[in-house]
Symmetry: C2
């Protein structure tokens, strides 16, 4: 048997403990698969005295995790601290510079500093691995970096945040509104006390950034990413969408169109009977379009100790087997600055919902604005007919230019009879 | 730039030409991803004069493909001839013995000779790659061998044959019967002139064999595989299943239960709103259950020139990058003879359909047989009530022992009032 792969684990939260547990529980199997043992030599965390589900007493305890990065008995540093600045970043940088491989689940760090870290890894001849950073237990980094390596990728669509998908699924199944379901999700541990990172789409955006880099060989760019969360989605939107045969999903999307790259995170409508629509609750999925595969989709748990640990451990097995692949699939110096496109120039079908006072002429005004902005309506439904109460009108459009419908919606929102901010959602035919 | 990876392609049918096309079309991208060029040095096929969609005139033509296996200018032999004996087998054996890596899409060959070939590859220090052998463009071999390497796998479920899935989907959507849809599929090129390999489950069984080896580290064993195809599925079965909220899918299943391995290919019921039920038409999918991921599922095109070529090329990129992983995920000498279980001892819920003459006492006879065989009925529906015509009765059962319900069905089939062979299908809660 070859010499074991020696690892340091920085961060003993849910995922860190999950990794310790998996390495211990499946040790014999892992040695067989990896061709050598995978042994933990040292660990670190903020609080040594904290009671944990796993026994870490057999490993050297390192008070300052930075010290792990330079230890002679460490081949791989597993960074599970989190945060895109500070200690996590310092640790990874020092580790790479010291010739240690690094495994991280830190999507924020990669989204902000991915290119610099890839350069650091490659110039030091080590691997920077991050399977756990996107979609938990789903091996989507591997699929994109290796499995689809023959393909010219044209688009990637992902349900990348389990909290949002859980909330949207619950809203649909129970008819409750966003706030109620959010509180419930917080109580059950599916949402954070401060949910903004999740429900405002930031977490999904970090993950999408990584997928953009992998798909198109571009430098990760978190700034050129239009992000809309799910707070404004109402129970009615979900019901209306369902009546039309759609489900609302928070999608991270990146696509290439005539050489320009378009990325966004926003709630969209997908067909309820599609393999995308069927991904419900806390599950995540990524669907890739390429010139060979046509489509390839992976589904799994997007978070949690065990699924995330599974991805960290698969990176460890890869390293033990002698893995050697550029961080984002091509050498760092081949990563290019993308020609970022304006999402407004894209064509798509849209769903539109208006809440209006029921009086003569409203529909005519709305229809006129749509027409003047080149928005061609495919179907319309007016729900309720009662002069005392607001009336809901839903539209679906033919494929229209996004900027055109945005203009139209802005003007429609200014009509006196329109009572609330209209809801406008893209329809994705995937 | 490093020296190019030099490949020989044996077999220039649909997939072979697809590989040539992809390597040519995406050459620059592939070099970047692989870290070096991937160049075709020679090709062979049965008929040199055949008109092809790709131009192969730039490559050396080898009349006897066996000669490729020993050429000095070849690092990798890509076997796309097919057949589990004869020239394909000879070629792979000689290539491996000559220190060439081998890539194959040949599921039949692997199902029958996988262990011997893995041994040959490993003892000669080369890789035997076969991503294209299961589920076309879906990188499921990579997912199982690497992506889920941290997991103890407990079960694998696959829709592994696009022809069957297409036929079953068409039957459901159009209400037509098996024979009519088959003829239609043959005319459209979705089914072979001799469809038996597909519709009788053999092709799916070959693929399942490979997945069994990967999942459980067992020697591939095509003999211990109970195979039932889809010829006996009627349009009515599909309608009744749909009324109950299920779709019928030909599933390859392998699972581990108390140390025993159970493998089968058979049509089963899956929930229509599950991510398994949503995989329709020619698409394939594999769902893996593991102790870390809980579940992981991949979906994609199961056949066709481009998707299959995508998998072959991903293997080539892996090899160019220096890939080194045991053929079935663990060294060949760690592969064990499985303790194969009898499927009859497994517990499952079942769907049962009987066609009976509508007369007093039939239901009582049936119910009595079920009771005597410990089959507990969950729900029953009697469709139609006309003494002149047969009556359909459908049952779903609680979880029962498969052998018990098989006994019951055999006895029920012998009742004079039962007009046709009853349909019995497992319900898989995935």
């Amino acid at each position: 048997m070859n010499k074991p792969l020696r690892i340091a684990i920085a961060g003993l939260g849910t995922v860190g403990c999950g990794v310790v547990d998996m390495l211990t529980r499946n040790a014999a199997l892992l040695s067989l698969r990896a061709g050598r043992g995978i042994v933990i030599t040292c660990v670190s965390s903020r609080d040594k005295s904290l009671k944990r589900d796993v026994d870490v007493s057999a490993y050297a305890w390192v008070d300052d995790s930075l010290h792990m990065a330079t230890r002679d008995d460490v081949d791989v540093v597993v960074e599970l601290i989190g945060g895109h600045e500070g200690i996590a970043k310092d640790l990874i940088e020092v580790a790479l510079k010291s010739g240690k491989h690094v495994i991280t689940a830190n999507k924020a760090l990669l989204a902000h500093h991915g290119f610099a870290l890839a350069k650091l890894a490659e110039t030091n001849g080590v691997q920077l691995m991050y399977e756990a950073s996107v979609a938990g237990g789903v091996p989507i980094i591997k699929a994109m970096r290796e499995g689809f390596a023959g393909n010219k990728i044209s688009a990637v669509y992902g349900i990348l945040n389990g909290t949002c998908n859980y909330i949207l699924t619950e809203m649909r199944e129970t008819g409750r509104d966003f706030e109620t379901v959010l509180v419930d999700a917080q109580e059950q541990g599916f949402a954070e006390v401060d949910p903004s990172f999740d429900v405002d789409g930031i977490d999904a955006a970090h993950k999408l950034c990584i997928l953009s880099g992998l798909a198109f060989g571009v430098k990760l760019n978190f700034e050129n990413l239009a992000v809309t969360g799910i707070r404004h989605i109402t129970a009615s939107d979900i019901t209306y969408a369902e009546d039309l045969g759609y489900r609302i999903k928070l999608l991270g999307i990146v696509r290439c169109n005539n050489g320009k790259i378009y990325q966004s995170v926003e709630p969209c409508l997908v067909h309820e009977d599609s393999t995308m629509g069927a991904v419900e609750g806390v599950f995540n999925t990524v669907l890739v379009e390429g010139d060979g595969i046509e489509i390839g989709q992976c589904i799994g748990r997007g978070a949690g100790a065990k699924p995330t640990a599974s991805s960290v451990v698969s990176d460890l097995v890869d390293l033990a087997r002698g893995y050697n692949v550029p961080t984002f699939g091509v050498p760092y110096d081949a990563l290019v600055d993308a020609d970022w496109g304006e999402n407004g120039s894209l064509m798509a079908r849209f769903y539109l919902h208006l809440s209006v006072t029921d009086r003569v002429g409203v529909l005519s005004d709305v229809a006129n604005i749509l027409k003047l902005n080149n928005v061609s309506v495919e179907a319309m439904a007016q729900l309720g007919h009662d002069p005392e109460n607001p009336v809901s009108i839903t539209f679906t459009t033919h494929a229209v230019k996004q900027a055109d419908i945005e203009n139209a919606v802005q003007k429609i929102a200014g009509l006196p009879a329109v009572l609330a901010r209209p809801t406008m959602l893209r329809i994705e035919e995937i």
